[in-house]
Symmetry: C2
């Protein structure tokens, strides 16, 4: 039977009731009806973000939100620190290079987290750095970065803002935008929010707004100040992705009802249960600071991780993700984001066991699953 399971770190599985909501007749974006939805959505986003800051909604993928943050905060020739320990850290560097921003890269070995002391040193050595660009969670390696610590470091420097790509972190685990001093926080629709791709979100602190008012890099479609004016008029600067925002309203209503603590506990549980299963089958992890968003499994000796992904997808109908760039073939990644539950994790683990066997790597069938079952039974 042609049933498919989506367990990649974005796009993720969307709940049928959200898909149904998005299939209601389209409404006009300049109407009191849509303005009311936008206004509620923006309030609900503040709850998700744990912030009082404005939250912008852009019609783009998450990368659009990253680009928006560079061009709206900086001017040509500005200096910025970039934490570069994976594909998305590299993206910050590429964005800076594209726009003539001098990026001072703090390189981190893929699979490891940045040491806040390294960032402190770089900040001390570069007091003129206007921004620190970092991931909350580097999706390509499954590593959580210590953004709370970074917030403390940057907060005391009045001329520097902390810009956090939280695309696969916000809504997954604790991330206190205001309390931690995260000036700009970016996320997307196709991760923890369990929506289709096509929306990016950006929260902006007072400190960041001051920078935005002076930023000279060119921008048109991604324009923070125009969006701020649009918020005052309960609209968006350009035609919004109406159907996705209708879905977003539905999802955020659910987030409010569930509450952030329960949402974080859900991801933690899926993550810990899956990781127990991986350990149970004798496999190891790529990330030294694993996240609750995904489990990144090291491909065992002699096994190409891409082949595991292929067998799951082509033979079992299950989509997980492989590694990217230098991690290609070395890892495979199971998402805990999306409309997923513990039973889906059991499926993923069972599929990995079978695929590895098929590839000639001996794993006792059911061993990983048993460990996960035990975890889930004991942690309700």
């Amino acid at each position: 039977m042609n049933k498919r399971y989506l367990m990649a770190p974005g796009p993720v599985a969307v709940a049928p009731e959200v898909l149904a909501k998005m299939s209601e007749p389209i409404i006009h974006h300049r109407s009191p009806q849509f303005s009311a939805i936008l206004t509620r959505v923006r309030e609900d986003l503040k709850y998700l973000y744990q912030t009082k800051n404005d939250c912008l909604i852009l019609a783009s993928s998450g990368t659009g939100g990253m680009e928006a943050s560079v061009v709206n905060l900086l001017s040509p020739g500005d200096k910025a620190l970039v934490i570069r320990g994976g594909k998305f850290g590299e993206r910050w560097d590429e964005l800076c290079n594209t726009y003539g921003v001098k990026a001072v890269n703090i390189d981190v070995i893929w699979g490891k987290a940045v040491d806040p002391q390294e960032v402190k040193k770089a900040l001390d050595a570069n007091p003129d750095a206007k921004a620190v660009f970092v991931q909350a969670h580097e999706t390509s390696t499954g590593v959580k970065y210590p953004v709370e610590e970074l917030g403390k470091l940057v907060r005391e420097r009045p001329a520097t803002v902390l810009v956090v790509d939280a695309i696969s972190a916000l809504g997954v685990y604790e991330l206190k935008t205001d309390d931690w001093g995260l000036d700009v926080v970016i996320t997307g629709s196709q991760k923890s929010l369990s929506l289709p791709p096509g929306l990016a979100f950006v929260s902006i602190s007072e400190k960041a707004w001051k920078l935005a008012e002076k930023a000279q890099l060119p921008k048109y479609y991604f324009n923070f100040l125009k969006e701020k004016k649009a918020i005052e008029k309960q609209t968006t600067a350009f035609t919004p992705a109406v159907s996705l925002i209708i879905g977003l309203a539905e999802v955020l209503r659910g987030v409010r009802a569930t509450g952030l603590p329960a949402l974080f506990a859900h991801h933690r549980r899926l993550s810990e249960g899956t990781k127990a299963g991986v350990t149970g089958m004798g496999l190891g992890f790529f990330s030294t600071v694993p996240s609750e968003a995904i489990t990144v499994i090291k491909a065992p000796e002699g096994i190409d991780g891409q082949n595991v992904v292929k067998i799951l997808r082509d033979e079992y109908g299950i989509t997980i993700a492989g590694g990217q760039a230098q991690a290609k073939g070395k890892i495979f990644r199971i998402s805990h984001m999306g409309h997923l539950n513990e039973w889906d994790m059991i499926i993923a683990l069972a599929a990995v066991e079978r695929a590895l066997n098929q590839l000639g790597y001996p794993i006792e069938l059911g061993k990983g699953v048993a460990a996960a079952e035990a975890y889930f039974a004991q942690n309700k």
Copy 2:
């Protein structure tokens, strides 16, 4: 009963079967399954565009497609001609200014079309202009510009490309990308394609690709060359708006089955029937070269067009559009794009008759509708 009718020039009404298609489970964007859909969609887009050129798909509103065309074709200090006769012509000028492109504006009175002779003069006076930016149809005024004529003028100049914002034109009426020499043609999902907003499309000629290879303006998210490479790999440079592309595949399948001539005839019929109704009720038109995309009605003496729009929306549940900027209050606009039929046009006309009466402007109820009915009966 809370039934609503959407007849604005974008977002437009989406067919229930397309909404249902988009509510199917999300699939991963890096998968053979999605690649197959992308490849077919790109072929179908070529049919819609009447082109052999590559057609890029971007996750953004139409403005993103316009910005993409500026930053991917030009370099700082380049010169470009801009036809400026409405809100979207102004947008070309603003985009040029944003990126340090010297815009030579050819100003056109709102409601009138540009005279190709004016463009010829400007081209002769500015042989160093690298691009001519124009709308095929200026949505803010309802005017069709003579892009076929402009194509002839620009085609013979090897150093200049013609960039056409066809957001509310492509798929509405005849627009021959290749035959007319339209180098870059932009459209969006929320107009004639009858999809929700969130996708922009850009076709690029060989001549334009040559310019793109040398263009020095900064860009990251909107990057033609990266998208070209992605096309070769049957994917997109960044995470695509998966659900909208699934809907697009469904719509384009329909376009192929219907055929362009029938699609154009459909819009022409709705347009002519509506215009017959408007004339029948004794009202006039704002545009001297009316399009098949929308009917732009001049608000009669003493009537604020915005009030017509408000009564329709708030009292009748019908969304049409008012005027923008200098046309605000002077006009109201009925769309022929979207999942609409002749009976919807009857509704719109009946509603306008009633609203004008309500506002104290005497129109014999049913007079416009009668004229439209007669047209539709005689033109099957």
